[in-house]
Symmetry: C2
Subunit: 480 residues, 2 copies
């Protein structure tokens, strides 16, 4: 039997040992507010693309513990009380979730998710929320950068074999599509999104035949509408391309050449080879033949190849995308910001010697300020949830540390980033399709200045605090 | 509903488009031999720890395609023929698998898995085998290095929230235990191995109380046998340790101090803080209190902290372990080495301009040569499967490229690394427990010279080819 995964148990044990105290110490129903946020953009970049909300919703709407789970925990952990295990057997999420929709461009310190729920619930769900958001947001951001580097060319996700297991491959591919990839090689993705997987042949396929031409010819015969010939098994320019052209000529003669066809390069100097291939294909009468490439690509190599005039218009990106190779962990955290105990609401702050690790207290929202004439995003402001921005008046924003750095904004509109997702345990959000999420990101790019999205030394987007939140934070810091 | 994972669809689409040809071109029952191997040790290291075989077996013994799978593929891929989809509906693995057991120390170019099966079967299983072995072998090797750096101290795996999804967390934790971790925070691991998950409390638990002492005291009361107090929420030396000592004194007075108890540091200068904590704990009469630490640890930081005299004996390692942060992909490949078509057996080689990427042809085995007196591994030899080493005679081995580099070995014994796992589709292997795999690795270390296992500039372990295999390879290269 395949091992049946038990997502409710995919949690850190300390969530259970803490909850064991909360049940016995009558704290479990204290109302807690937690924010899930990042502290830095990944890849030394200037922005982040959030993803994973659909799987978070799926988890929260279904999480429960079976009798088998309880029995296993009871046997393995005599320290867990019966009171707690009884509670766990009835566990369900009855709280509230607000979130920034998938495909939104976000920045550090903004709550991607804001949970308000009985303390024990908010605690038990922590690890799953982090695991899901950390993974998909990381890969969506990497994909977005790679797609950005391809400047309108199509990018395919090809990394399943290097993913951290099949599930990482599946949701990594989903995140890659959110980031702008047009498709993936991963067939399982068809079970969650309506996008057929892509691919044609490997080197072993060609080696399994006596010669390259025969392998190409048979492939074209049995897969007439899916013709992307891998030309580097023996020698790209001396064997691969001539054999591909021979097949294309034959198909043309038989009126069987499909609309979309071409070749794939998987090794060698892709700039030089693609230019030579282009000449040979054009010279043989196939200017529409697509030249695709796959070989340890990432956003930097694609940018360099394009600068060198590579004639590639379809990019298959594997390892570097599916593992977010240059920074394979995002580091989002989930921090308590308020707790209500016996009717008393207390704002919470986590102090640290590292000022970047000090949290923002309170029940908060994040608002994006757009310039009305250019529709460009000017800054984001984190504020107490009930604060209102009067768009008819100028808005003064200031740096949360260097408070003398001020800007006064005019002619702007303010938009809440957080939307209600779950209220009283009930889903109140219409889940968008993956195409809608992908389109949202494309729209988002239009509102972000290029200074923010460039790879090298990007400008830091301003995420400021409202005066009310800044004061609250500083009061709590001074109380320490 | 949770999304039900469909592991048989976790494959690259090209496996299906190639197989579509194999069915229609009467090649599907050609007998193919594929080797799965790495080309380099990860982390610039000198060795690799193989892991993932149990999940490979689980996959091969169960892989099949349901009618729903077939229907989905038919709808999404009109290019797939009915003949192929009919074949797929009856798919099962009927071939042969040999493998190097989990927990073995291995080196580049050795077949970790050797598959001999009808071509179409060997092809369709490729992606899953790579995904499983690449992931678990990567994490097991990272864990082994971290455990090595801890020099006998215990190491716990704490990375679930930074894993690439919950499944990466689960099998990453399994691989970490193979690599020598004594446990994990991940509760789901209890469903696949008999090792209870570990953990106590987070900062938010402490913040949920009015003060640190109350949080500690309540925890000790309700989790009396699981007492590892997190001391850095406010100020480690001024608040955390004094409050922890207060709780330990109270428990001591009440005769309730458990055998295993201590504190956890999660920030700050771990070398300095641990030494100060040790003094304070010793001074208060708690020389047995464990000092544990967790804060962006990896093998290099642990080694440095130990060199600086840190008084930490329990290490919780998260992000850097579960993502193999400094090299998050292994890059194992799966290459055709022989094919039998219409009764004719043909050895296959994949050429490349990069000599390191040229494959070894034929149906091969890997043999480890041990010095009989020291029991140290001297070298590995890859050879044709039916070759025999006569241990009574000296053995001359030579470098596969610089063939003048020769060694003559005396007084040695030779041991096959590959063992039969599946024969004619039937499991012939007794799966070891995780503890047995962990013990195997501990034994393996004894046979490997320290020159191979050091982190910086390790000596390259010799993996040579037998004269017969070397000749076969060079004949095929010269035929190109």
């Amino acid at each position: 039997m395949y091992h049946k995964r038990i997502p409710q148990l995919s949690t850190d044990y300390y969530q259970l040992s803490m909850s064991n105290v909360f049940v016995n110490d009558n704290k479990k129903d204290d109302i807690a507010v937690f924010d899930l946020f990042i502290r830095n953009n990944p890849f030394n970049g200037g922005y982040t693309v959030c993803a994973g909300l659909e799987q978070v919703i799926n988890y929260l709407m279904n999480v429960h513990f079976s009798q088998d789970d309880i029995t296993m925990l009871r046997e393995n952990h005599p320290e867990l009380s019966n009171e707690f295990l009884d509670y766990l057997s009835t566990f369900k999420f009855t709280g509230e979730l607000h979130a920034i929709p998938e495909g939104t461009i976000i920045f550090p310190h903004e709550p991607i998710l804001r949970v308000k729920a009985p303390l024990i619930q908010a605690q038990i769900i922590e690890t799953s929320l982090l695991t899901i958001i950390n993974h998909q947001t990381l890969i969506a951001t990497k994909a977005a950068r790679i797609v950005q580097s391809a400047e309108g060319d199509s990018v395919l996700e090809f990394g399943l074999r290097r993913a951290h297991g099949s599930q990482a491959g599946l949701y990594g591919a989903r995140a890659a599509i959110i980031g702008g990839c047009v498709g993936t090689s991963n067939v399982e993705v068809e079970s969650i999104v309506n996008i057929p997987a892509k691919g044609t042949m490997s080197h072993s396929y060609i080696l399994s035949y006596d010669n390259e031409y025969e392998a190409f010819e048979k492939f074209s015969y049995y897969n007439p509408d899916n013709l992307m010939l891998l030309v580097d098994t023996y020698n790209t320019l001396k064997s691969g391309i001539p054999n591909a052209i021979k097949v294309f000529l034959k198909l043309k003669e038989e009126n069987k050449l499909p609309d979309i066809y071409g070749i794939r390069l998987d090794s060698g100097d892709l700039a030089y080879l693609s230019k030579e291939c282009r000449k040979m294909l054009d010279g043989a009468g196939f200017p529409n033949a697509i030249i695709s490439a796959s070989s340890d690509l990432d956003e930097y190599l694609i940018r360099d190849l394009k600068l060198q005039g590579a004639k590639i218009t379809l990019w298959g990106v594997g390892t570097k995308l599916i593992t977010a190779y240059d920074q394979p962990a995002l580091g989002a955290v989930y921090k308590l910001s308020q707790i209500e105990h016996l009717g008393q609401r207390i704002n919470k702050i986590k102090v640290s010697n590292d000022p970047g690790k000090i949290t923002n207290p309170g029940y908060k929202k994040a608002v994006r300020i757009y310039d009305k004439s250019s529709n460009k995003a000017l800054a984001d402001v984190i504020m107490i949830d009930d604060e209102v921005i009067d768009e008819s008046k100028p808005l003064t924003i200031f740096h949360p540390v260097y408070t003398w750095k001020k800007r006064i904004l005019f002619n702007y509109r303010a938009q809440n980033l957080l939307v209600p997702i779950i209220v009283d345990g009930k889903l109140v959000y219409d889940l968008p399709t993956i195409r809608e999420i992908q389109s949202r990101l494309k729209e988002e790019y239009k509102s972000i200045w290029p200074a923010i999205t460039r790879f090298t030394n990007p400008h830091e987007y301003h995420v400021d605090l409202s005066p009310k939140l800044w004061n609250l934070k500083n009061e709590l810091l001074n109380e320490q």
